[in-house]
């Protein structure tokens, strides 16, 4: 009986690993590395890469800039309705990306909630690069804010109190104590959100379309090339896998960096 169970465990592990690794490995097996690099020089890929980098950078910067203080408030303050607010922040996590795209349309589209106001200002968002930025920010921000709230909640309240008794005003408490102590968790949340933003597909294709050089990000280019030029689609996919793997390795190494930094600043050993 014990042997049967051991065999069952081994088989399950092997199947799970094989199922997860095989498709990823297949991408690299299908096309030799040299051809992959060549395909990356393709104009469709280059355009998509530029659009992705630009929109992701802007969206991510906005998410960090607004999301960090918001997460600090949500982590530190207890107010009525806090649970509702936290749930609303997490709602986009469970929405299908296509629904997020429709929702953005309903809010910022010409016939949308803010359509008239935006029209009066001469601003049109759908199918522009601004739409890509909005879609990416909308989809990735819950990932960041959720992680950032957890990171700030993990900071010992006594340390913040100690800073205040030492004369620090709230802004200084945030900058000198809360932010550096939450840095590890904020970094991890930021990396996950960035990865999610770079991979954004559904909301973007609905709200921004797939115009090469304007709104066609890397994931949209994979989809576009899928039927026209499978090798280019493979090359972009390979690029995603490499970037994703690097991100994961960086996240795994991060605690190790932190640990070693503890021993960095010893000037004279105590005797």
């Amino acid at each position: 009986m014990r042997k049967v169970f051991a065999a069952f465990l081994a088989a399950s592990t092997a199947i799970a690993l094989g199922f997860l690794v095989l498709p990823v490995a297949a991408i690299f097996v299908r096309v030799p590395p040299g051809d992959l690099l060549g395909a990356l020089g393709h104009h469709v890929t280059r355009d998509a890469l530029l659009v992705s980098l630009k929109t992701s950078a802007i969206a991510h910067a906005c998410v960090l800039l607004v999301g960090t203080p918001a997460a600090y408030v949500l982590a530190r303050r207890r107010f009525p309705g806090r649970g509702v607010v936290l749930t609303l922040v997490e709602l986009p996590l469970v929405l299908p990306p296509a629904v997020a795209g429709i929702a953005l349309f309903a809010a910022f589209g010409r016939a949308g909630l803010l359509g008239d106001q935006l029209d009066a200002l001469g601003i049109q968002i759908p199918f522009t690069q601004a739409a890509v930025v909005l879609a990416v920010a909308f989809v990735e921000s819950p990932f960041y804010v959720r992680g950032a709230i957890a990171a700030f909640e993990a900071v010992d309240q006594t340390l913040l109190d100690a800073a205040r008794t030492l004369g620090a005003r709230p802004a200084r408490v945030f900058a000198r104590v809360a932010l550096p102590l939450a840095a590890g968790g904020l970094g991890a949340a930021s990396a996950l959100a960035l990865a999610r933003g770079l991979g954004e597909f559904g909301a973007t294709i609905i709200f921004a379309g797939s115009l090469q050089g304007v709104t066609q990000t890397l994931p949209l280019a994979v989809y576009a090339q899928f039927e026209q030029d499978f090798d280019t689609a493979l090359a972009i996919s390979a690029l995603f896998i490499v970037v994703g793997a690097m991100l994961l390795v960086a996240l795994k190494l991060y605690p190790w960096f932190r640990f070693t930094s503890i021993f960095r600043s010893r000037v004279v050993p105590s005797t």
Binding site: A168, R176, V268
Partner: protein
């Protein structure tokens, strides 16, 4: 130095902590069991928690006054707060910790023997070193009031004695109003000029440690000061003594006067132990079984069935005491305090 004045009411789970206290250039220690509201009291003085009503002032400066609707922010109150477990910033060096609130650090680092550790992180320090960093940090802004929350609790038993002596000297030297809270009467007695006992939301007694030990106001204070407190019924005995028939059976003679329901107070260090009833001047001999033996440095705490005795480890070894054995506990009638019982 300006005195700290505290008069407040702090709601607790099962009671309200009501306290009036004036701290001059001295160290006042408040002792109480956990849950007595000791930390909340310090947090209220620092402005980290708002009392229900009352006032807190430091000399002419009003920090809190519920009637006048004054409530200064923590960063606007001149307090140095030594937190329980010290709350040092783990990402900053010793020097950065000490200078976090501004002010100069070199004199303090020298005074607290931390110069060689200026670049170290709190994670690399021993308990005693961390405590000194916390004190240096609290003092760097030259506060008008010093607050210490269980400053000895995070220390190993074997470093405690030295650290306590150092802290005692430092507090004398500073001559600042210092308010210290602890659950340990011994720490309070060793560090403070005056000791207050907190119980069920009230300040039961405030005085020198000698006063509290010599004439505890009630059984609660006596118990907190470490005394054996035994209940019984008192009646006059020959030669001006009082005999107390304990609820557990034996009779205890006391030089104090008392009648009716009475609490008998005997300190463990006044109880001596022997294998058989000794032929000495002690009037009180109680034969009891040993429950446990706990070493405390050079002393041993011997718990008997109803009494606790504190004897030297030398005596404990000479008597070869073992749990389960029966010994005779002796103490003089002059070492017994009687308090009216409830």
């Amino acid at each position: 130095m300006v005195p700290l004045h505290v008069d407040l009411s702090l709601p607790r789970r099962s009671f309200d902590l009501e306290l009036q206290l004036e701290v001059g250039s001295e160290t006042v220690a408040l002792v109480g069991p956990s849950g007595a509201g000791k930390t909340s009291l310090l947090r209220a003085v620092a402005g980290l928690v708002r009392p229900e009503r009352g006032s807190i002032s430091c000399g002419p400066e009003v920090w809190f006054d519920s009637a006048q609707r004054v409530d200064r922010r923590p960063e606007e109150r001149s307090v140095g707060y030594v937190f329980q477990e010290y709350a040092l910033f783990p990402h900053l060096s010793v020097l950065q910790n000490v200078t976090f609130g501004g002010g100069r650090a070199d004199g303090l680092l020298r005074r607290l023997r931390l110069e060689h550790l200026a670049g170290a992180r709190p994670g690399e320090l021993s308990g005693g070193e961390r405590q000194r960093v916390a004190i240096a940090r609290a003092l760097a802004r030259e506060p008008h009031v010093l607050l210490l929350d269980e400053p000895m609790a995070a220390l190993d038993p074997h470093t405690r004695g030295t650290v306590r002596a150092e802290l005692h000297d430092l507090l004398r030297e500073l001559a600042l109003p210092a308010l210290l809270v602890t659950h340990d009467f011994e720490d309070a007695a060793a560090l403070a000029d005056r000791v207050g006992v907190l119980g069920e939301g009230r300040l039961r007694q405030l005085g020198s440690a000698v006063d509290l030990l010599g004439s505890p106001a009630d059984p609660f204070v006596a118990r907190l000061a470490g005394a054996n407190v035994l209940s019984g019924v008192a009646a006059p005995a020959p030669n001006g003594l009082t005999a107390v028939l304990l609820d557990d059976g034996p009779t205890v003679y006391a030089a104090d006067a008392g009648s009716g329901r009475t609490e008998v107070v005997v300190y463990p260090w006044d109880v001596s132990l022997a294998r058989s009833a000794p032929d000495d001047s002690a009037l009180n001999h109680i034969r009891e079984e040993i429950v446990s033996l706990t070493p405390l440095g050079n002393r041993a705490r011997v718990r008997l069935r109803t009494l606790t005795a504190e004897i030297t480890t030398t005596s404990a070894e000479r008597l070869q005491l073992r749990p389960g054995e029966t010994v005779v506990a002796s103490f003089k009638a002059t070492q017994v305090r009687l308090l009216p019982g409830g």
